[in-house]
Every structure is written in structure tokens, then in C-alpha cells.
Amino acid sequence: MTHRARGLASLLLVAVAVGAQAQSGAELQLGAELQLGTQAQAGTRPQTGPYTQPGPPAPAADSQPWRPQPQGMGSLSPDDMRRLMQMDDSHRFGTLRFDELEWRGANGQPAGAWDAQGWYGGDSDKAWLKTEGLHTDRWTAATAELLWDRVVSPWWSAQVGVRSDFGTGPSRSWLALGLQGVAPFMFDTEATLYVGESGRTAARVKMAYDLYLTQRLIVQPKAEVNAYGKRDWARGLGSGVSDLELGARMRYEFRRELAPYVGIDWSRMFGTTADLARADGRDAHDLQLTVGVRFWF
């Protein structure tokens, strides 16, 4: 290394000498200043024509990659550099989005319903909040989930966290493990498994698709299915697939952030869940009109 450095140094001297001569000799050639820290070398570099090999800069003292520090910068850590650069490619953002905030009526019991998600985080890891629910005079069923979302593929995130069911009946808590992302054909998809107390299990799958009628008028078909591994009398749930909800909402995006909509929502309960609902005087299936607003900020 030392030997080599000495060799480079002598090459450098030769290059400087040649450069100086060339500069004085050829008017067309431009003086070029290669500044390296406080070191300045003279060299020549014609605008066109044969290339003159420039002298190398001073070799590094060790075998670390050479990281020159420009004048006046002192010694900067990569973090300092990025701060100066304001290249904030790992910035954390947060958002809250109400896909549905609506009134359902015209048939069966009028209800208010919501479906919202929010997150805060960077490109690969986010804290994720989901909540959805249905509220009538007599009955409220709602869930909220707090998840850690981690990107696992170009289109999918894995999510792990907790879910809490509240509303009518005793509340239930679950551990949640799921996937959220975009399935082929641009279906927004969520699929989550839940494990609760006393050996309860549950699963939820949601899919939605945006069909553009115009650039602002958009129909969104949507499906949600819930299933439970075990009966839960207190919350009116049987085992197996408990309910299926199919809907289509047509929204108009005045702005992307604000879109009122109308739609239809068809829901059906199955098995014991349906029996329990009927016993309670509720409809086990419903076709309702919905009016609501989708918004995010």
C-alpha cells in the first residue's frame, strides 16, 4: 500500500508538470481545477478530442472507502448528511379514512354503520387502526383493531395485533393475524384470523373493487364474510359462517378526499347466528338502501 502510494504520488507530480506545460502551450485548452479538500491540482482537459488521463488524488490512508469531506463540512455522519440534505425518504405519515359512514334504511331496522381505517408509519412498518360497526336502536355490534402492519411483498402487508368486540353483549378480545393488500385485478383485500379467550377463533375476509364510471363517479362493490369457530350465545353468534354482507356503493368524488354515496347493502346471517337473531326479533337477512359519505384526511 505504501509502496503503491509512493508510486501514485510520483505519477501525480508528472501529471501536474505535464498539465502545466500543456496549459501554457495550448490556448484552446482550458485550465481545469480539480479541488480535493484543501489540495488543488492543475490539470488540463480539452473540451473534445483525446482524453488526457488525470493524475489520481491522494490515496486514502487506509482501506476504508474513500469519503472525501469537502471544505467546510467538517466530519459528518451519514445522519447529519441526510439532515442537511433534507432527503426524508423514511418520513412517517398518518391518515384516517372512513370508507363508510352511513345510514341504512328502507327495509328492516334503520341503522347507522361505519367502516374506518387509519394508520401511522413509514414505508414498511405502520401502526394500523380499523374499526367497523352497526348500530340500531336495539343492537350494536362493533369491532376495533389495533395492528402492526408490515410490508411483506409488493402488494401485501402482514398485520398482527388485537381486536376488541364491543356493543351489545359482553365485550370480547382477540389476537389478530392477517394480510391486507391488493389481490390481482385490483381487489382491495383483507383476510384476518382471530384467536380469543376460552379457545374462541374467528375469521374475517373483506374485498372491495373500484369500478370507474367516470373519473369521479365510482361504483364500489364490496363483500365481507365473518366466521366463528365456536358459539357465543352472549353475543348472538353461532359457529361457522355467521354472516355475509354484499354491497355496492356509488360515490361521487367531489374531491378524492370527499365522496358522498348511495348504495345497497344486502346482508344475511347463517345458521345459529341467524336463529339467534330471529329469536331476538331481528331480521336474519336484510336488503337496505344506504346513504353516506366516504372521506379521508
Binding site: 488521463q53 488525470p54 471544505q71 442537511l84 440534505m85 432527503m87 425518504d89 373519473q215
Partner: protein, 644 residues
């Protein structure tokens, strides 16, 4: 195609309809040695742009209220002007530019395309510490080149809010192709929104600004003209990829008003000429996120320089100019009438407009915008024979003339898809180059298990590569020629929306820098970089690593090396290397042209050579400002070879 342009149209007419802004374009007979000011235009913004010539300059950077669209907004300006004053230098001069920061935040000026010592390059954190509020930084260097360039802030989004201007360097021995008159046409995209807000919006909803999506009506129209089978196959192909062929521009005319020399279309910046004169137009794309397609109906444009470097003259009808690219064109308007300089945004969501006229105030006919194009298989690096049917059918998908195998990476016979119906689910778009799951749009930044770090160019289709966490950020391959068999680097592809449009459109294949390459040595090394991203999550990177996750690229001082860029994404990326020229070569090893900013089209593989003659630390990045801020940025270190 139905796409709502109402928003952008409204913005056009909102531009203050003041008197036309006029520039005479006469050159000062002799440039004085000291700086002086020459009024060039006075605009609707209330500011006036000037030409400053000489060797010593004083620039003040400050906030100032402007009114582009009818709303008052604060802009970040040089000397209170939008754009900043045109600086005229002379080749060989030692110039001093004293830049004073009147902002409350740090600022910087980068001399785009100018060969300067590393500490004069103006990139905070790389070249210097930036210019703190209330302080003055003096740039001082010798001008070693001539031509048209520009300058802009390299601090956060200041460029978007107005901090840019033209640089014109007079050749020491006079222009190779003298003109009787010249005008600078600095194109830009203005937004009334806070760029930080735009950036956040893109991160949350990357398709927010796209008002050209395919609708149910487009589907029916396609069925009518191409049949069910073809239309379904086309929708299926895009659906399986989970991509949209309408992703042409991240930010559109919904947010942008497109400007020429700081003027919106309604203000109609006007450059004067006398019939029969040869007029040099120095066209600079100073936009943050917009590719423009520029033409002047009725005039042939003779391209005489690219990125400041003289090229063999090419007469064309139209050229596409990417952010930070520069073209000098000569026009000879024969008649005493007004001509429209028409610069459509690539997604046809709006246009910038100026007038060339013999006298101020003349009316000009504004051409209609072209239909909005769709991305095609070609833009994924696939030829028509890959897709068989998909092409003639795919409505609006355009393909370059005579191209059957544009990407030219080893396409094994198994790649060809005789029919769109046979595409295996999830593998519909076999790619000759290494595609990761999701087809070259990997998120990848956390390197999840099973995610590909592509390392092989000969992957069969649809294979996800094993994870390779240890792969160096830049995969350096010996110059074995493993990728030199490329039969088509698509240099002659004018790009999406310009193919077969009936006009003579400039392509990179047309550009030949006068005098050949600066360095004729064979490259000793080849570095391959993939342009990667995740459109949905708005993550952009080189080789799947954002800037914050990357190590500097090491160039050995004095070496000649080859850089191969492979665009795995569906967007165009203008890639800019600071401090050194990028000398573009064709696939068969012929020198094309010397540039400072090289646009790589979707699916394209582009090769250029660099002589690492500028020691120090340099920026290397995509010049789409929001792509850069999202991570498509690398540091390049030119230093001695170490560790041997």
C-alpha cells in the same frame, strides 16, 4: 378516452390575462465583464425576469407572493423573479456567484450539468453544508464548457416552488450554429399546493392526480372496436399485474399549471422574431414532475444541442423533454404570423404555451391536445411478438415503429405468449430481465423474506428470485458483455404517446454529439442499476434500496466505466449524474451523445459511459423531484481504488 380536464382548463383561463409578456431576444452585442441587468420579460406574476451577464453575480433567495392561477401563493424566488434571472457566462471565465439566503430555512443552488469542483456543486449534505438563513455563500469556479444549462435549488421542494433559472454559456469561439436571435424557454410546473402536501398525498394515494383512468365506458368502447376477447384479455393482463396503463404522470394538470418562463398559458409569453430570421430556442425543462412534448405547428425544429452539447443537426416536428433535460433548437419562421410553442404534458392533462410572433399581442391558434395514450407491453420491455394479439387490440396502446423485441434481454422461447388467454395467473408478463414478484415494482425496502433482489438477467418468466440480502447495492459485473447482446435498447423509441403520431419525433437515436466522446478508452468496469419502485406505495429507489438504505456508489478516480440502467418500473425516469458527463452508447456500442440527464423509458435498458475525472462526492438521482425525495437518490464517491 374520457378524462376530466375541467380542472386544468379552469386553471388555464385563470391565469391572469394581463398583457402579453414579450421578449425581444436580441443578444447584447458584447458581454461586459461586469454584471448588468437586461430586462427580458415582465410577467403576470408582477415579477420580471432579467438576464444577468458577466463573471460576478449577486443572487438573493427569498419568499415572495406570486399569482399564477388567480390565487396568491408564496414562491421561493431568486432576486424576486419567477423563474430566476438568466445567467450568461462565458466559457473559460472564472465566475463568482454570491448567493444570499433571505429565507427562514437553509437553501442551495445547484448548477445543473456544469462541471465544477465537488464543493461548488451545491448539494447540501453532499457538496457543502447548504446556505443557512441570513448567510451568503460564494460559488467560485472556472467555466469549462458552453451551451444551455440551468440552475435550481437542491433543498427539499424549493425547486417546485420557483427556485430555478436558465444558464447560458457563450462558447469561447462563438456558436457553432449562430442564430440571429435567441430565446430561453424554461418550462415548469406550478402548483398552488404546498409541495409537502403533494408529497404526502402521493404517499397516501399515488393515483390521486390521475384523472385519466379507464372507465366502464372505455371498456364498452373497446369491446365495440376490438371485440370481447381482446378487451377481456387486455383487462386481464393489467388486472393480473395490478397496474394501470394510465399511470403516465404522478402529478397531473389537476394540481399543476404548466408555465413557460413563469407564465401560464393564458398570459401567453411571447418571443419576438423577424420573418426569415434563424431563432435559437433554448428549451429547458425545469419542471419538477412533468415530461413535456414540445412542438411548434408550422415550423420545423432543428435540434442543434442536447444538454448544452452540440449535436449534429436533426430536423424534427416534435421532441419530448424530461425534467432537467435541455434541447437547443433552431427555427426559421418564414411568415409574419404568430406561432404557438405548444408543450403538452405527457399525460395530456394540460399544456404550457408560448407564442413566437413578429410583434407583441398577436393571436395564435392553440392546437388541440393529442389523445391520452396508454402504456403498452413495450413499456414493460416487451415486444409485440410477446403479446401476440394483445397489441393491435389494446386500444390506445402504442408501439414504436418496427420494434418487435425492444428490451432484448434474453427472452427464452418459453416467454412468448401466443395468446393473451394463455397467460398463467400471476405470471402474465414474463420479463426478460429479472422481475420480482409484482413485476418489477417491488416494495422491497424492508427486504421481506422471499422478496427478490434481482441479480440475474436471464431469469425465466414469473420466477421469483431467492432473497439475497447480501447483494451489494450496486451489482457490479465485469464487462463480460453478458448484457451486450441487447438487440434493442429502444433508443429509437420516441416513447409512450408519441409513437406513430404522424410527426417526426426526436429520439435518442437521432442525437449524435459533435466531436464524439470525450474519452475513447474502453470501459474497465460495468455497473448495473435497476430503476425500481412501488407505484402504489410511492416508493422509489435504485436496486430496491432507497437512499437511506444505500451505500455510496464507488467510482475509481480516472476510470472509464459503463453504467447500465434497467428501468423495472412503469414510469419514465430522468437520471442525473452530478459532476461528470453521461455519454450514451447504443446497444451495439456506438457513441450517441453526451448528456447530464438521461431519460430511461419504462422497460428500457440504457447504457452510458462515465469518466470518473471529478474527485469527491456527488449526487446521482432521478430528476422527478418527488421520486428523488422518496428515495431514488444515490451518493457517488469518486476516489482512489482502495482495499486491493
Amino acid at each position: 378516452m374520457k378524462h376530466s380536464m375541467d380542472q386544468s382548463r379552469r386553471r388555464f383561463v385563470q391565469g391572469l390575462a394581463g398583457s402579453a409578456v414579450v421578449a425581444s431576444g436580441f443578444l447584447p452585442p458584447r458581454l461586459l465583464r461586469t454584471a448588468y441587468a437586461l430586462p427580458e420579460s415582465s410577467g403576470a406574476t408582477g415579477a420580471s425576469s432579467t438576464v444577468l451577464a458577466g463573471s460576478e453575480f449577486h443572487l438573493q433567495i427569498g419568499r415572495r407572493e406570486v399569482n399564477i392561477t388567480g390565487a396568491r401563493r408564496e414562491a421561493t424566488l431568486v432576486n424576486g423573479q419567477l423563474p430566476g434571472p438568466t445567467l450568461r457566462w462565458k466559457e473559460g471565465d472564472q465566475v463568482s456567484v454570491h448567493v444570499t439566503n433571505r429565507l427562514s430555512v437553509p437553501t442551495s443552488i445547484h448548477w445543473h450539468g456544469i462541471l465544477v469542483p465537488a464543493d461548488m456543486d451545491g448539494v447540501p449534505g453532499v457538496s457543502f453544508r447548504g446556505i443557512d438563513p441570513g448567510t451568503t455563500f460564494t460559488y467560485r469556479f472556472r467555466v469549462k464548457q458552453s451551451g444551455t444549462y440551468w440552475y435550481h435549488s437542491h433543498s427539499r421542494f424549493q425547486e417546485q416552488t420557483g427556485l430555478s433559472g436558465a444558464l447560458v454559456i457563450e462558447p469561447r469561439n462563438g456558436e457553432r450554429r449562430p442564430a440571429s436571435r435567441e430565446h430561453v424557454l424554461l418550462l415548469s410546473d406550478w402548483t398552488d399546493s404546498d409541495p409537502e402536501h403533494l408529497y404526502r398525498t402521493l404517499k397516501l394515494h399515488s393515483d390521486y392526480f390521475n384523472f385519466g383512468k379507464r372507465t366502464a365506458g372505455d371498456f364498452l368502447a373497446d369491446v365495440r372496436s376490438h371485440g370481447w376477447r381482446a378487451t377481456l384479455a387486455d383487462r386481464r393482463m393489467w388486472g393480473e399485474m395490478r397496474m394501470s396503463p394510465t399511470d403516465l404522470s404522478d402529478v397531473s394538470g389537476y394540481a399543476y399549471t404548466y408555465l413557460v418562463n413563469g407564465q401560464p398559458p393564458a398570459s401567453r409569453w411571447t418571443g419576438l422574431f423577424e420573418p426569415g430570421e434563424t431563432v435559437r430556442l433554448r428549451c429547458i425543462n425545469g419542471a419538477s414532475m412533468t415530461f413535456f412534448d414540445v412542438r411548434i405547428p408550422g415550423l420545423k425544429l432543428t435540434v442543434v444541442a442536447a444538454d448544452g452539447q452540440d449535436v449534429e443537426p436533426v430536423p424534427v416536428d416534435e421532441f419530448r423533454i424530461g425534467p432537467a433535460e435541455v434541447y437547443d433548437v433552431l427555427v426559421e419562421p418564414p411568415d409574419a404570423r404568430a406561432y404557438a410553442v405548444f408543450a403538452q404534458a405527457i399525460d395530456r392533462s394540460g399544456y404550457a404555451l408560448a407564442t413566437l410572433a413578429p410583434r407583441p399581442g398577436m393571436q395564435v391558434e392553440v392546437p388541440a391536445m393529442d389523445p391520452r395514450a396508454l402504456l403498452s407491453m413495450v413499456d414493460m420491455g416487451h415486444g409485440m411478438n410477446d403479446m401476440g394479439m394483445a397489441h393491435d387490440m389494446a386500444p390506445g396502446h402504442d408501439v414504436p415503429p418496427g420494434h418487435s423485441m425492444p428490451s432484448g434481454h434474453d427472452m427464452s422461447p418459453g416467454h412468448s405468449m401466443p395468446s393473451g388467454q394463455d397467460m398463467p395467473p400471476g405470471h402474465s408478463m414474463p420479463s426478460g430481465h429479472d422481475m420480482s414478484p409484482g413485476h418489477g415494482m417491488p416494495s422491497g425496502h424492508d427486504m421481506p423474506p422471499g422478496h427478490s433482489m434481482p441479480s440475474d438477467h436471464d431469469m425465466p418468466p414469473g420466477h421469483s428470485m431467492p432473497a439475497d440480502h447480501d447483494l451489494p447495492p450496486a451489482r457490479e459485473t465485469a464487462a463480460t458483455g453478458e448484457m451486450k447482446d441487447s438487440s434493442g435498447d429502444r433508443l429509437d423509441d420516441p416513447g409512450v404517446g408519441l409513437r406513430n403520431n404522424g410527426r417526426r419525433v426526436l429520439t435518442y437515436a437521432d442525437l449524435h454529439t459533435v466531436g464524439g466522446p470525450l474519452d475513447t478508452r474502453e470501459p474497465s468496469r460495468e455497473i448495473v442499476l435497476h430503476l425500481t419502485g412501488n407505484m402504489t406505495r410511492f416508493i422509489w429507489s435504485f436496486d430496491d434500496r432507497k437512499f437511506s438504505e444505500s451505500e455510496p456508489l464507488q467510482f475509481h478516480y480516472g476510470e472509464r466505466l459503463t453504467l447500465v440502467l434497467i428501468n423495472d418500473s412503469m414510469m419514465l425516469h430522468p437520471i442525473h449524474l452530478h459532476g461528470m458527463w453521461s455519454e450514451v452508447y447504443s446497444a451495439d456500442g456506438r457513441f450517441q451523445m453526451r448528456k447530464h440527464t438521461v431519460t430511461v423509458q419504462p422497460g428500457q435498458r440504457l447504457t452510458y459511459r462515465i469518466t470518473a475525472d471529478a474527485p469527491g462526492r456527488w449526487a446521482y438521482h432521478c430528476h422527478m423531484l418527488y421520486h428523488m425525495e422518496a428515495g431514488m437518490f444515490r451518493e457517488v464517491v469518486v476516489g482512489p481504488e482502495t482495499g486491493s
